[in-house]
């Protein structure tokens, strides 16, 4: 599916190859332009170039909290950028990592937190909501 060049551009970051590809295919089918990265460093370089309209980040990459740090950096680089953070339950501990205190949440700066497994409709709903909210500003 080819999207219109004016379509919103989404930066999708996850170290899980399958998650990345599946969501790229589905978001493109829904009419978005999608660029993907599988590490924090790649994502930051890509974001500086492409100036995305929205970012979807997985919490766990090489480091447990890479998603948090990436969110913080992206928000500093592109202050108006809506960020969706996707979290997963870790195999080792059975615990889910999420920012608990208000201060932590403010530092991370994510606009939405979704827990894996996420349904695609749920993700597109958040994407639409955040893009709409962004255009009203």
């Amino acid at each position: 599916m080819t999207s219109r060049p004016t379509a919103p551009h989404i930066l999708l970051v996850d170290d899980d190859e399958d998650f990345l590809y599946q969501h790229k295919v589905q978001l493109e089918h829904a009419g978005y332009r999608v660029s993907t990265a599988s590490s924090r460093a790649d994502a930051e370089a890509l974001a500086a170039d492409m100036k995305p309209d929205l970012a979807i980040l997985d919490l766990m990459m090489e480091q447990h909290d890479d998603g948090f740090v990436l969110s913080h950096h992206l928000k500093r680089m592109l202050p108006g950028l809506p960020v969706i953070l996707v979290t997963a339950v870790t195999a080792e501990t059975g615990l889910s990592f999420s920012p608990t205190s208000g201060a932590e949440r403010a530092w991370v700066g994510a606009d939405a937190l979704l827990a894996k497994p996420i349904r695609f409709e749920q993700l597109t709903r958040e994407v639409e909501r955040l893009l709409k909210a962004g255009t009203r500003d």
Binding site: V25, Q26, S38
Partner: protein, 373 residues
Amino acid sequence: METLRVLVVDDETGMRLAVARVLNTYTVKPDESDEHTVGFAIETAESGEAALEMMAASAPDILLLDMKLPGMSGLDVLREIRERRLETLTVMITAYATLETAIEATKRGAHDFLPKPFTPEDLRVAIRRVVRHLLVQREARRLALEKRQVRFQFISVLGHELKAPLAAVEGYLQILKDGSAGSDPAVVARVIDRALVRTEGMRKLIVDLLNMTRIESGQKRRDLAPADLRDAAAAAVETVAAAAAARGIEIHVEAPDRAPLVADRGELDIIFNNLVSNAVKYNRDGGRVAIAIDRAGAAWRVRVADTGIGLSPEDAQRLFHDFVRIRNEQTRLIPGTGLGLSIVKKLAQLYGGDASVESEEGAGSTFTVTLKG
């Protein structure tokens, strides 16, 4: 010093006082080789009813229980202890240690007997025995608990490892179902391809899991027969030949003319397949795998060296544990179950040997397996 609580139940005041006097100053060293000593805090009761009331609040470690009591008998108290599932070790004090009462008391859960009349030394001997038993029992419980926890941890990680590929395959099927793949054949092909790759990964995990369960339960029928390590090495090389060639990786085998070992060929195949396929998977393109088989004392030594990404010393230490996969940008796209090396080590131990790794980050790793025979 650890203090164990002892409850003395006897209707004779003199007996209660005498026992308390002996045990108050007595200490036991259950194991002569360590410093651990055990002392005693004595409580007393003059009837079975009073004893049970005290025990309802908190059961003592050891109960010295007179068989013949006014009201409830010692046997009645034993029955109650069992029904209420109180955790205590009981030594029956009995003036008439007939065989029948002894059998009856044992049936109802008494641990030992102390026939009346007894000397202070008789009492100390009985107490020392019961303390030893108590500590052994405690250690056995601790080990059982630890084993359950290891098992639980294993199952919970396994559940996650099985769920992840399933979720990926479901995602791909969903894409096909809702038509997001569109009409681009390249997209459809990749969707199907990845679904198959993840299904295969799951199948390998299940095979590994079954192998491991068989090894650990010791119930697998082992077909021990004369075998040659060279054959197992050659078969493993054959298996990875195409994958290695595709990435320009050369594989060399260095072995004596014969490397005989009485072994289960299936087990040898698992060991060699794991080591050789790892050496290819974690190698660099254009790299090299060197398989060397030689004698090291009473054992065969198999070394598989690669020129791949290598490991940090910390990662090398964890590598042989269940479900340990080294997670970094270089290993992100390499499939694996996390059980292979754990299985290799367990199998090597079946042959009185072991498995180990030496590695240098960025330069390569050498895995060594020894097999006695």
